[in-house]
Amino acid sequence: MDKVLSVGEAIERFVPDGAGLVAVGGMHLQNNPMALVREMVRQYRHVTRLLTSPCGALNADLLVAAGLVEQIATSYVGFEHLGLAPAFRRAVEAGVLRVLECDEAYITHGLSAGAGGLPFVALPAGLEFADVWKANTESYCLVTDPFTGRKVLAGAPLAPDVALLHAAAADAAGNAVLAGAHFVDRSMALAAKTVVLQVERVVPTDQLSRQAVGTTIPGFLVQAVVEAPGGCHPTASHGHYRVDEAHLRRYLSLAASADGALSYLEEFVRGVTEQDYLRSVQAGASVGGEL
Protein backbone atom coordinates (compact mmCIF):
# COMPACT_ATOMS: atom_id res chain seq x y z
CA MET A 1 0.00 0.00 0.00
CA ASP A 2 2.44 2.63 -1.20
CA LYS A 3 0.85 6.06 -1.12
CA VAL A 4 3.97 8.04 -1.98
CA LEU A 5 3.41 10.26 -5.00
CA SER A 6 5.07 13.22 -6.59
CA VAL A 7 3.49 16.52 -5.70
CA GLY A 8 2.11 16.79 -9.22
CA GLU A 9 0.50 13.35 -9.14
CA ALA A 10 -0.91 13.86 -5.67
CA ILE A 11 -2.76 17.04 -6.58
CA GLU A 12 -3.80 15.69 -9.97
CA ARG A 13 -5.27 12.51 -8.53
CA PHE A 14 -6.73 13.67 -5.24
CA VAL A 15 -7.79 17.29 -5.62
CA PRO A 16 -10.36 17.79 -8.33
CA ASP A 17 -10.68 21.20 -9.90
CA GLY A 18 -13.56 22.94 -8.14
CA ALA A 19 -13.34 20.80 -5.03
CA GLY A 20 -16.00 21.60 -2.46
CA LEU A 21 -14.38 22.30 0.88
CA VAL A 22 -10.60 22.28 0.88
CA ALA A 23 -8.76 22.69 4.18
CA VAL A 24 -5.18 23.95 4.32
CA GLY A 25 -3.17 23.12 7.41
CA GLY A 26 -0.56 25.04 9.35
CA MET A 27 -1.13 28.17 11.37
CA HIS A 28 0.18 31.67 10.96
CA LEU A 29 3.70 31.46 9.55
CA GLN A 30 4.28 27.85 10.57
CA ASN A 31 3.81 24.51 8.85
CA ASN A 32 1.91 25.82 5.84
CA PRO A 33 1.80 22.99 3.27
CA MET A 34 3.25 25.26 0.62
CA ALA A 35 4.53 22.58 -1.75
CA LEU A 36 0.94 21.34 -2.12
CA VAL A 37 -0.44 24.86 -2.32
CA ARG A 38 2.02 25.87 -5.01
CA GLU A 39 1.10 22.76 -6.99
CA MET A 40 -2.57 23.71 -6.70
CA VAL A 41 -1.60 27.00 -8.33
CA ARG A 42 0.43 25.30 -11.05
CA GLN A 43 -2.46 23.00 -11.88
CA TYR A 44 -5.05 25.81 -11.73
CA ARG A 45 -7.11 23.92 -9.18
CA HIS A 46 -10.11 26.05 -8.27
CA VAL A 47 -11.49 25.75 -4.77
CA THR A 48 -15.14 26.37 -4.14
CA ARG A 49 -14.59 26.90 -0.45
CA LEU A 50 -11.25 27.18 1.30
CA LEU A 51 -11.03 26.47 5.03
CA THR A 52 -8.05 27.68 7.03
CA SER A 53 -6.94 26.83 10.53
CA PRO A 54 -7.92 29.54 13.00
CA CYS A 55 -5.12 31.59 11.44
CA GLY A 56 -4.34 31.25 7.76
CA ALA A 57 -1.40 33.00 6.10
CA LEU A 58 0.41 32.39 2.84
CA ASN A 59 -1.39 29.04 2.41
CA ALA A 60 -4.60 31.01 1.82
CA ASP A 61 -3.27 34.25 0.40
CA LEU A 62 -1.36 32.56 -2.41
CA LEU A 63 -4.43 30.65 -3.59
CA VAL A 64 -6.46 33.84 -3.43
CA ALA A 65 -3.74 35.73 -5.29
CA ALA A 66 -3.94 33.10 -8.02
CA GLY A 67 -7.67 33.70 -8.34
CA LEU A 68 -8.52 30.14 -7.40
CA VAL A 69 -10.75 30.71 -4.37
CA GLU A 70 -14.45 31.42 -4.61
CA GLN A 71 -15.28 31.46 -0.88
CA ILE A 72 -13.14 31.32 2.23
CA ALA A 73 -14.12 30.08 5.68
CA THR A 74 -11.64 31.55 8.13
CA SER A 75 -11.19 33.40 11.39
CA TYR A 76 -7.96 35.10 10.28
CA VAL A 77 -5.87 35.50 7.18
CA GLY A 78 -2.78 37.62 7.72
CA PHE A 79 0.93 37.69 8.28
CA GLU A 80 0.98 38.55 11.96
CA HIS A 81 3.73 41.07 12.73
CA LEU A 82 4.58 41.31 9.03
CA GLY A 83 1.25 42.80 8.03
CA LEU A 84 -2.12 42.18 6.44
CA ALA A 85 -2.73 39.54 3.77
CA PRO A 86 -2.53 41.50 0.53
CA ALA A 87 -4.45 39.26 -1.87
CA PHE A 88 -7.12 38.33 0.67
CA ARG A 89 -7.63 41.95 1.60
CA ARG A 90 -7.80 43.10 -2.01
CA ALA A 91 -10.23 40.37 -3.05
CA VAL A 92 -12.60 40.97 -0.15
CA GLU A 93 -12.54 44.72 -0.53
CA ALA A 94 -13.23 44.28 -4.23
CA GLY A 95 -16.13 41.98 -3.47
CA VAL A 96 -14.75 39.07 -5.49
CA LEU A 97 -14.12 36.74 -2.55
CA ARG A 98 -16.96 35.70 -0.28
CA VAL A 99 -15.96 35.33 3.35
CA LEU A 100 -17.66 32.83 5.60
CA GLU A 101 -16.74 34.72 8.74
CA CYS A 102 -15.72 32.32 11.53
CA ASP A 103 -14.21 32.49 14.96
CA GLU A 104 -11.52 30.27 16.45
CA ALA A 105 -13.92 28.31 18.66
CA TYR A 106 -16.13 27.40 15.72
CA ILE A 107 -13.27 26.33 13.47
CA THR A 108 -11.71 24.23 16.22
CA HIS A 109 -14.87 22.63 17.54
CA GLY A 110 -16.51 22.50 14.12
CA LEU A 111 -13.65 20.33 12.86
CA SER A 112 -14.15 18.03 15.84
CA ALA A 113 -17.81 17.83 14.91
CA GLY A 114 -16.82 16.97 11.36
CA ALA A 115 -14.43 14.29 12.60
CA GLY A 116 -16.99 12.88 14.98
CA GLY A 117 -20.11 12.84 12.85
CA LEU A 118 -21.65 15.27 15.33
CA PRO A 119 -24.63 16.95 13.70
CA PHE A 120 -23.62 20.39 15.01
CA VAL A 121 -21.66 21.95 17.83
CA ALA A 122 -23.21 24.11 20.52
CA LEU A 123 -20.87 26.97 21.42
CA PRO A 124 -20.23 28.61 24.79
CA ALA A 125 -22.75 31.18 25.96
CA GLY A 126 -21.51 34.69 25.28
CA LEU A 127 -20.02 34.06 21.86
CA GLU A 128 -23.30 35.20 20.36
CA PHE A 129 -22.49 38.76 21.43
CA ALA A 130 -19.88 38.99 18.70
CA ASP A 131 -21.17 39.91 15.25
CA VAL A 132 -19.47 36.90 13.63
CA TRP A 133 -22.52 34.65 13.42
CA LYS A 134 -24.69 37.43 12.04
CA ALA A 135 -22.28 37.73 9.13
CA ASN A 136 -22.32 33.97 8.49
CA THR A 137 -25.77 32.53 8.86
CA GLU A 138 -24.80 29.54 6.77
CA SER A 139 -22.36 28.21 9.37
CA TYR A 140 -23.98 29.50 12.53
CA CYS A 141 -27.45 29.76 13.94
CA LEU A 142 -29.11 30.07 17.32
CA VAL A 143 -30.45 26.97 19.03
CA THR A 144 -32.24 26.43 22.31
CA ASP A 145 -30.18 24.54 24.87
CA PRO A 146 -32.55 21.69 25.76
CA PHE A 147 -31.14 21.47 29.28
CA THR A 148 -31.45 25.13 30.26
CA GLY A 149 -33.81 26.67 27.72
CA ARG A 150 -31.22 29.32 26.95
CA LYS A 151 -30.52 30.43 23.38
CA VAL A 152 -26.98 29.58 22.39
CA LEU A 153 -24.95 29.60 19.24
CA ALA A 154 -24.68 26.45 17.12
CA GLY A 155 -22.14 25.78 14.39
CA ALA A 156 -22.42 23.37 11.48
CA PRO A 157 -19.82 20.58 11.31
CA LEU A 158 -16.71 21.23 9.24
CA ALA A 159 -15.92 18.13 7.19
CA PRO A 160 -13.47 19.02 4.43
CA ASP A 161 -13.60 17.13 1.16
CA VAL A 162 -9.83 17.47 1.00
CA ALA A 163 -7.22 18.47 3.57
CA LEU A 164 -3.78 19.60 2.43
CA LEU A 165 -1.43 19.13 5.35
CA HIS A 166 2.21 19.15 6.34
CA ALA A 167 3.78 16.60 8.69
CA ALA A 168 7.35 16.01 9.74
CA ALA A 169 7.52 12.48 8.41
CA ALA A 170 5.37 9.64 7.18
CA ASP A 171 5.78 6.09 6.05
CA ALA A 172 4.59 4.86 2.69
CA ALA A 173 1.26 3.75 4.17
CA GLY A 174 0.52 7.28 5.30
CA ASN A 175 1.21 6.91 9.01
CA ALA A 176 2.56 10.32 9.86
CA VAL A 177 4.17 12.00 12.81
CA LEU A 178 3.81 15.68 13.58
CA ALA A 179 6.65 17.65 15.13
CA GLY A 180 6.33 20.75 17.25
CA ALA A 181 2.90 22.32 17.59
CA HIS A 182 -0.03 20.60 15.91
CA PHE A 183 -2.46 23.50 15.62
CA VAL A 184 -5.62 21.95 14.13
CA ASP A 185 -3.80 19.77 11.61
CA ARG A 186 -4.74 16.50 13.27
CA SER A 187 -8.36 17.62 13.47
CA MET A 188 -8.34 18.42 9.78
CA ALA A 189 -6.98 14.93 9.08
CA LEU A 190 -9.66 13.35 11.24
CA ALA A 191 -12.45 15.33 9.62
CA ALA A 192 -11.47 15.26 5.95
CA LYS A 193 -12.65 12.73 3.40
CA THR A 194 -9.31 12.89 1.59
CA VAL A 195 -5.97 13.79 3.13
CA VAL A 196 -2.94 14.76 1.06
CA LEU A 197 0.18 15.02 3.19
CA GLN A 198 3.47 16.66 2.41
CA VAL A 199 6.34 15.57 4.63
CA GLU A 200 9.95 16.48 5.16
CA ARG A 201 10.81 12.85 4.61
CA VAL A 202 9.36 9.43 4.03
CA VAL A 203 10.64 6.96 6.60
CA PRO A 204 10.20 3.28 7.38
CA THR A 205 7.24 2.51 9.62
CA ASP A 206 9.42 1.46 12.51
CA GLN A 207 11.00 4.89 12.68
CA LEU A 208 7.72 6.54 13.54
CA SER A 209 7.30 7.51 17.13
CA ARG A 210 4.84 4.96 18.36
CA GLN A 211 4.06 5.67 21.95
CA ALA A 212 3.55 9.40 21.76
CA VAL A 213 -0.22 9.35 21.90
CA GLY A 214 -1.68 12.16 19.90
CA THR A 215 1.35 13.11 17.83
CA THR A 216 0.48 10.95 14.87
CA ILE A 217 -1.96 10.63 12.02
CA PRO A 218 -2.85 7.03 11.15
CA GLY A 219 -2.39 6.00 7.57
CA PHE A 220 -5.97 4.88 7.10
CA LEU A 221 -6.93 8.55 7.01
CA VAL A 222 -4.32 9.46 4.39
CA GLN A 223 -4.62 9.06 0.63
CA ALA A 224 -1.33 10.50 -0.58
CA VAL A 225 2.12 11.21 0.80
CA VAL A 226 4.40 13.68 -0.93
CA GLU A 227 8.04 13.89 0.09
CA ALA A 228 8.74 17.59 0.01
CA PRO A 229 11.79 18.56 2.05
CA GLY A 230 11.70 22.31 2.54
CA GLY A 231 8.12 22.29 1.31
CA CYS A 232 6.78 24.66 3.95
CA HIS A 233 9.07 27.44 2.73
CA PRO A 234 8.81 30.39 3.18
CA THR A 235 6.87 29.46 6.31
CA ALA A 236 8.53 27.44 9.06
CA SER A 237 8.48 23.68 9.48
CA HIS A 238 8.52 22.78 13.14
CA GLY A 239 11.46 20.56 13.94
CA HIS A 240 13.16 21.46 10.69
CA TYR A 241 13.52 25.13 9.74
CA ARG A 242 12.47 28.62 10.72
CA VAL A 243 10.37 31.10 8.82
CA ASP A 244 12.05 32.97 5.94
CA GLU A 245 10.91 36.47 6.79
CA ALA A 246 12.88 38.07 3.98
CA HIS A 247 11.08 36.00 1.40
CA LEU A 248 7.72 36.69 3.03
CA ARG A 249 8.42 40.42 2.98
CA ARG A 250 9.23 40.14 -0.68
CA TYR A 251 5.93 38.38 -1.27
CA LEU A 252 4.05 41.01 0.74
CA SER A 253 5.71 43.79 -1.16
CA LEU A 254 5.01 42.25 -4.57
CA ALA A 255 1.50 41.08 -3.75
CA ALA A 256 0.54 44.56 -2.60
CA SER A 257 -0.66 45.03 -6.18
CA ALA A 258 -2.53 42.60 -8.39
CA ASP A 259 0.18 42.84 -11.05
CA GLY A 260 2.89 42.28 -8.48
CA ALA A 261 1.09 39.22 -7.19
CA LEU A 262 0.99 37.78 -10.70
CA SER A 263 4.67 38.39 -11.19
CA TYR A 264 5.38 36.66 -7.87
CA LEU A 265 3.30 33.69 -9.01
CA GLU A 266 5.11 33.58 -12.31
CA GLU A 267 8.57 33.85 -10.82
CA PHE A 268 8.15 31.55 -7.83
CA VAL A 269 5.31 29.20 -8.65
CA ARG A 270 3.97 28.77 -12.15
CA GLY A 271 7.18 29.41 -13.96
CA VAL A 272 9.21 26.95 -11.93
CA THR A 273 9.05 23.40 -10.70
CA GLU A 274 8.97 22.77 -6.97
CA GLN A 275 12.56 21.60 -7.14
CA ASP A 276 13.65 24.76 -8.90
CA TYR A 277 11.73 26.88 -6.44
CA LEU A 278 13.42 25.28 -3.47
CA ARG A 279 16.80 25.63 -5.12
CA SER A 280 16.19 29.28 -5.94
CA VAL A 281 15.19 30.17 -2.41
CA GLN A 282 17.73 27.81 -0.85
CA ALA A 283 15.00 26.30 1.25
CA GLY A 284 15.57 22.96 2.77
CA ALA A 285 19.29 23.54 2.98
CA SER A 286 19.05 23.00 6.70
CA VAL A 287 16.45 20.28 6.46
CA GLY A 288 17.26 17.41 8.73
CA GLY A 289 16.26 17.59 12.34
CA GLU A 290 14.94 14.83 14.45
CA LEU A 291 11.37 13.65 14.48
Binding site: M27, H28, L29, Q30, P54, C55, T74, S75, Y76, V77, G78, E80, H81, L84, A85, F88, R89, V92, E93, G95, E101, C102, D103, E104, A105, T108, H109, S112, L123, P124, A125, G126, L127, F129, A130, D131, V132, A135, G180, A181, H182, F183, V184, S187, G214, A236, H238, G239, R242, V243
Partner: protein, 264 residues
Protein backbone atom coordinates in the same frame (compact mmCIF):
# COMPACT_ATOMS: atom_id res chain seq x y z
CA UNK B 1 0.99 51.27 12.49
CA UNK B 2 3.02 53.39 14.90
CA UNK B 3 1.69 56.68 13.61
CA UNK B 4 0.50 57.95 16.95
CA UNK B 5 3.40 56.72 19.01
CA UNK B 6 5.37 59.01 21.24
CA UNK B 7 9.05 59.18 20.58
CA UNK B 8 10.60 57.45 23.56
CA UNK B 9 11.98 60.30 25.67
CA UNK B 10 14.67 58.17 27.14
CA UNK B 11 16.24 54.79 26.90
CA UNK B 12 13.39 52.43 26.21
CA UNK B 13 11.30 51.50 23.21
CA UNK B 14 7.54 51.95 23.13
CA UNK B 15 6.99 48.20 23.07
CA UNK B 16 9.15 47.83 26.15
CA UNK B 17 7.23 50.47 28.04
CA UNK B 18 3.94 48.84 27.07
CA UNK B 19 5.13 45.44 28.27
CA UNK B 20 6.17 46.96 31.58
CA UNK B 21 2.87 48.77 31.97
CA UNK B 22 0.89 45.61 31.10
CA UNK B 23 2.91 43.63 33.62
CA UNK B 24 1.74 46.01 36.30
CA UNK B 25 -1.85 44.96 35.60
CA UNK B 26 -1.08 41.33 36.40
CA UNK B 27 -1.44 39.48 39.69
CA UNK B 28 0.19 36.47 41.25
CA UNK B 29 -2.93 34.32 40.92
CA UNK B 30 -3.58 35.12 37.26
CA UNK B 31 -3.74 32.63 34.43
CA UNK B 32 -3.33 34.65 31.24
CA UNK B 33 -3.85 33.78 27.61
CA UNK B 34 -2.86 35.66 24.47
CA UNK B 35 -2.95 35.15 20.74
CA UNK B 36 -1.65 36.53 17.47
CA UNK B 37 1.57 38.58 17.41
CA UNK B 38 1.69 38.72 21.17
CA UNK B 39 5.33 39.40 21.95
CA UNK B 40 4.40 42.38 24.15
CA UNK B 41 1.99 40.50 26.46
CA UNK B 42 4.37 37.54 26.53
CA UNK B 43 7.14 39.75 27.84
CA UNK B 44 4.66 41.39 30.21
CA UNK B 45 3.84 38.00 31.69
CA UNK B 46 7.46 36.95 31.81
CA UNK B 47 8.30 40.20 33.61
CA UNK B 48 5.46 39.73 36.07
CA UNK B 49 6.68 36.22 36.86
CA UNK B 50 10.23 37.43 37.32
CA UNK B 51 9.15 40.19 39.70
CA UNK B 52 5.88 40.58 41.60
CA UNK B 53 3.93 37.53 40.43
CA UNK B 54 6.12 34.41 40.40
CA UNK B 55 3.11 32.09 40.39
CA UNK B 56 1.34 33.67 37.41
CA UNK B 57 0.70 31.29 34.52
CA UNK B 58 0.52 32.30 30.90
CA UNK B 59 -0.28 30.48 27.71
CA UNK B 60 1.15 31.75 24.46
CA UNK B 61 -1.78 30.86 22.23
CA UNK B 62 -1.01 29.50 18.80
CA UNK B 63 1.90 27.27 19.75
CA UNK B 64 0.34 26.98 23.22
CA UNK B 65 3.46 26.78 25.32
CA UNK B 66 2.61 27.20 29.00
CA UNK B 67 5.02 29.62 30.65
CA UNK B 68 7.29 29.74 27.61
CA UNK B 69 10.84 30.55 28.55
CA UNK B 70 11.12 33.48 26.15
CA UNK B 71 14.72 32.76 25.49
CA UNK B 72 14.44 34.67 23.30
CA UNK B 73 11.04 36.27 22.72
CA UNK B 74 9.73 35.68 19.20
CA UNK B 75 7.37 37.60 16.99
CA UNK B 76 5.06 34.84 15.76
CA UNK B 77 2.68 33.36 18.31
CA UNK B 78 3.05 29.98 16.62
CA UNK B 79 6.85 29.95 16.59
CA UNK B 80 8.44 26.70 17.67
CA UNK B 81 10.51 28.61 20.26
CA UNK B 82 7.35 28.96 22.31
CA UNK B 83 7.38 25.21 22.87
CA UNK B 84 10.45 25.73 25.04
CA UNK B 85 8.20 26.08 28.02
CA UNK B 86 7.12 24.30 31.17
CA UNK B 87 4.42 22.32 29.41
CA UNK B 88 2.64 22.44 26.08
CA UNK B 89 -1.05 22.10 25.37
CA UNK B 90 -2.68 21.23 22.08
CA UNK B 91 -4.39 24.27 20.58
CA UNK B 92 -7.75 22.53 20.78
CA UNK B 93 -7.44 22.25 24.55
CA UNK B 94 -6.61 25.93 24.92
CA UNK B 95 -9.66 26.78 22.85
CA UNK B 96 -11.74 24.53 25.10
CA UNK B 97 -10.38 26.21 28.22
CA UNK B 98 -11.06 29.66 26.79
CA UNK B 99 -14.67 28.59 26.58
CA UNK B 100 -14.73 27.08 30.04
CA UNK B 101 -14.48 30.62 31.31
CA UNK B 102 -13.27 30.05 34.88
CA UNK B 103 -9.71 29.04 34.00
CA UNK B 104 -8.17 32.06 32.30
CA UNK B 105 -8.39 35.22 34.38
CA UNK B 106 -6.69 37.50 31.86
CA UNK B 107 -7.12 37.69 28.09
CA UNK B 108 -4.94 40.07 26.07
CA UNK B 109 -6.81 41.67 23.19
CA UNK B 110 -6.54 44.32 20.55
CA UNK B 111 -7.97 45.36 17.24
CA UNK B 112 -7.99 47.52 14.16
CA UNK B 113 -10.71 49.41 16.00
CA UNK B 114 -11.28 49.70 19.73
CA UNK B 115 -14.28 51.64 20.90
CA UNK B 116 -15.33 53.69 23.90
CA UNK B 117 -16.80 50.61 25.61
CA UNK B 118 -13.75 48.48 24.95
CA UNK B 119 -15.30 46.48 22.13
CA UNK B 120 -12.67 45.28 19.66
CA UNK B 121 -12.76 44.79 15.90
CA UNK B 122 -10.12 42.99 13.89
CA UNK B 123 -12.46 42.09 11.01
CA UNK B 124 -13.45 45.03 8.86
CA UNK B 125 -13.57 48.81 8.75
CA UNK B 126 -16.70 50.09 7.08
CA UNK B 127 -19.50 47.83 5.92
CA UNK B 128 -18.63 44.18 6.54
CA UNK B 129 -19.98 43.04 3.17
CA UNK B 130 -17.87 45.52 1.21
CA UNK B 131 -15.30 46.86 3.63
CA UNK B 132 -13.11 49.91 3.22
CA UNK B 133 -10.44 47.92 4.99
CA UNK B 134 -10.62 44.20 5.38
CA UNK B 135 -8.76 43.07 8.49
CA UNK B 136 -7.55 39.54 9.08
CA UNK B 137 -10.47 38.20 11.14
CA UNK B 138 -11.61 37.82 14.68
CA UNK B 139 -9.69 34.70 15.81
CA UNK B 140 -10.54 34.13 19.49
CA UNK B 141 -11.80 37.60 20.35
CA UNK B 142 -15.42 36.48 20.86
CA UNK B 143 -14.12 34.72 23.99
CA UNK B 144 -13.61 38.14 25.58
CA UNK B 145 -17.14 37.72 26.87
CA UNK B 146 -16.07 34.78 29.03
CA UNK B 147 -12.79 35.70 30.78
CA UNK B 148 -12.02 37.48 34.00
CA UNK B 149 -10.23 40.63 32.88
CA UNK B 150 -9.57 41.79 29.36
CA UNK B 151 -6.33 43.71 28.91
CA UNK B 152 -6.36 45.62 25.65
CA UNK B 153 -3.17 46.81 24.03
CA UNK B 154 -2.63 48.61 20.77
CA UNK B 155 0.48 49.85 19.00
CA UNK B 156 -1.67 52.47 17.28
CA UNK B 157 -3.31 55.28 19.12
CA UNK B 158 -5.12 57.50 16.67
CA UNK B 159 -8.72 58.40 15.84
CA UNK B 160 -9.01 55.61 13.26
CA UNK B 161 -8.19 52.98 15.88
CA UNK B 162 -9.93 54.50 18.89
CA UNK B 163 -13.47 55.04 17.62
CA UNK B 164 -16.79 55.74 19.27
CA UNK B 165 -18.23 52.47 18.02
CA UNK B 166 -16.59 49.54 16.24
CA UNK B 167 -17.89 48.84 12.75
CA UNK B 168 -17.88 45.12 13.49
CA UNK B 169 -18.09 43.73 17.00
CA UNK B 170 -15.59 40.91 17.08
CA UNK B 171 -14.50 41.05 20.71
CA UNK B 172 -17.21 42.07 23.16
CA UNK B 173 -16.26 44.74 25.64
CA UNK B 174 -18.99 46.52 27.59
CA UNK B 175 -21.23 46.30 24.48
CA UNK B 176 -23.36 49.47 24.36
CA UNK B 177 -22.71 50.37 27.98
CA UNK B 178 -24.27 49.65 31.37
CA UNK B 179 -27.79 48.59 30.38
CA UNK B 180 -26.76 46.28 27.58
CA UNK B 181 -23.89 44.87 29.65
CA UNK B 182 -26.05 44.02 32.63
CA UNK B 183 -28.79 42.58 30.46
CA UNK B 184 -26.35 40.38 28.57
CA UNK B 185 -25.19 38.74 31.78
CA UNK B 186 -21.86 37.80 30.23
CA UNK B 187 -19.75 35.44 32.27
CA UNK B 188 -16.61 37.58 31.90
CA UNK B 189 -15.57 40.63 33.85
CA UNK B 190 -15.11 42.84 30.82
CA UNK B 191 -12.23 45.09 29.78
CA UNK B 192 -10.01 46.20 32.64
CA UNK B 193 -7.28 48.32 31.09
CA UNK B 194 -6.02 49.63 27.77
CA UNK B 195 -2.34 50.31 27.12
CA UNK B 196 -1.16 52.25 24.06
CA UNK B 197 2.04 54.02 23.09
CA UNK B 198 0.59 57.19 24.60
CA UNK B 199 -1.17 56.25 27.79
CA UNK B 200 -2.88 53.75 30.02
CA UNK B 201 -6.65 53.80 30.28
CA UNK B 202 -9.27 51.99 32.30
CA UNK B 203 -13.06 52.14 32.40
CA UNK B 204 -15.38 54.41 34.33
CA UNK B 205 -17.45 52.30 36.72
CA UNK B 206 -20.66 54.24 36.13
CA UNK B 207 -20.66 54.69 32.36
CA UNK B 208 -18.35 51.77 31.45
CA UNK B 209 -16.65 54.13 28.99
CA UNK B 210 -12.92 54.33 28.57
CA UNK B 211 -11.18 56.64 30.99
CA UNK B 212 -7.69 58.09 30.89
CA UNK B 213 -5.63 56.87 33.80
CA UNK B 214 -2.05 57.90 33.15
CA UNK B 215 -0.05 59.40 30.33
CA UNK B 216 3.28 57.89 29.48
CA UNK B 217 6.47 59.85 30.10
CA UNK B 218 6.80 62.64 27.52
CA UNK B 219 3.13 62.56 26.52
CA UNK B 220 0.58 65.21 27.53
CA UNK B 221 -3.15 64.87 27.97
CA UNK B 222 -3.96 67.00 24.94
CA UNK B 223 -2.05 64.59 22.72
CA UNK B 224 -4.11 61.69 24.01
CA UNK B 225 -7.39 63.55 23.55
CA UNK B 226 -6.46 64.47 20.00
CA UNK B 227 -5.44 60.91 19.20
CA UNK B 228 -8.70 59.44 20.50
CA UNK B 229 -11.78 59.36 18.26
CA UNK B 230 -14.27 59.55 21.09
CA UNK B 231 -14.68 61.52 24.26
CA UNK B 232 -12.50 59.95 26.94
CA UNK B 233 -13.69 60.06 30.52
CA UNK B 234 -11.27 62.28 32.41
CA UNK B 235 -10.43 61.52 36.03
CA UNK B 236 -9.90 64.36 38.49
CA UNK B 237 -6.24 63.70 38.31
CA UNK B 238 -4.33 62.24 35.38
CA UNK B 239 -1.10 60.77 36.67
CA UNK B 240 2.03 60.06 34.75
CA UNK B 241 2.83 56.44 33.98
CA UNK B 242 5.83 55.40 36.02
CA UNK B 243 8.86 54.99 33.81
CA UNK B 244 10.21 51.46 33.61
CA UNK B 245 12.61 50.86 36.44
CA UNK B 246 16.08 49.67 35.64
CA UNK B 247 15.16 46.30 37.15
CA UNK B 248 12.08 46.04 34.91
CA UNK B 249 14.06 47.01 31.83
CA UNK B 250 16.79 44.54 32.66
CA UNK B 251 14.28 41.69 32.84
CA UNK B 252 12.54 42.80 29.66
CA UNK B 253 15.82 42.84 27.80
CA UNK B 254 16.86 39.50 29.17
CA UNK B 255 13.59 37.97 27.96
CA UNK B 256 13.65 39.87 24.68
CA UNK B 257 17.30 39.41 23.93
CA UNK B 258 16.75 39.66 20.19
CA UNK B 259 14.89 42.95 20.45
CA UNK B 260 11.47 42.02 19.07
CA UNK B 261 9.89 44.73 21.22
CA UNK B 262 12.27 47.25 19.75
CA UNK B 263 10.95 46.37 16.31
CA UNK B 264 14.12 44.60 15.25
Amino acid sequence: MNGGAATPPSGWATGELMAVELARQLRNDDVAVMGTASAIPQVACGLARATHSPDLWFVAGGACGVNPHLAPTVASCCDEELLRSDTVLPLGDVVLLEGRGDVFTVFFAGGLQIDAYGNCNLVAVGDWARPALRGPGTVGLPFLSRVGRVLIYSLSHNPRTFVERVDFLGGPGFLDGPGSWVEAGLPGGGPAAVVTPLCTMDFDQATLRMRLRSVHPGVDVAQVVEATGFELVMPDQVTQTAAPTSEELAVVRRLDSSGVLKGR
